[in-house]
């Protein structure tokens, strides 16, 4: 499922709203999540999971193609921890 499939499914559930409205709603949801993470905030969605920021220390890496050594600076990466309910749903144990 892609974002546009999600928007279509959403519109089928809310027939009174337009596709444009649902398009905007979905974008507002994910844009606001990106914005929160950008500010270093964590996101908690009960039943779904939590998004947190993890700090990566600077390190020396290698270009896997050329083998050349490259310096990787300190950076922040997003991390997702699946929520309990969704974890069980995915494993079909619920």
């Amino acid at each position: 499922m892609t974002k546009s499939d999600l928007i279509k499914s959403l519109q089928e559930r809310f027939k009174t709203y337009t596709y444009q409205d649902m398009y905007q709603a979905v974008n507002i949801i994910f844009d606001s999540m990106v914005e929160a993470l950008r500010k270093g905030e964590r996101i908690e969605v009960r039943g779904f999971g939590n998004f947190t920021i993890r700090e990566r220390k600077p390190r020396l890496g290698r270009n896997p193609k050329s083998g050349a050594q490259v310096e990787l600076s300190e950076r922040r990466v997003p991390f997702f921890k699946t929520g309990k309910e969704l974890k069980l749903m995915v494993d079909n144990k619920k």
């Binding site: 994910f30 606001s32 999540m33 993470l37 997003p78 309910e85 494993d91």
Partner: protein, 90 residues
């Protein structure tokens, strides 16, 4: 940020009622969950991909007692953040 604040954002920016905004946000997460439960992957451009992976059974250890246990085969969810999101964070 919690779901309440996501709902608040939709409410302020879209002009739906609070109740409608809450229904929309709940439904978005429910739809994603339904797909993942079916083993389908969900790709949100600009955010990331949620992918269900099959894990084979393996031997593990209880980290507290050191006792060997068998870990059954299972399906787990992984999240691969999009390039756009990773760029936004740095």
């Amino acid at each position: 940020m919690t779901k309440i604040e996501i709902i608040q954002n939709v409410y302020e920016k879209l002009g739906f009622s609070k109740k409608e905004s809450a229904d929309i946000v709940e439904t978005v997460f429910d739809l994603i969950k339904e797909k993942l439960a079916q083993g389908e992957k969900v790709k949100i451009s600009g955010f990331g991909n949620f992918i269900v992976k099959e894990k084979r059974s393996r031997r593990g250890r209880n980290p507290q007692t050191g006792e060997e246990i068998s870990i059954t085969a299972r399906r787990v969810l992984t999240f691969k953040s999009s390039q756009v999101l990773r760029k936004a964070l740095n």
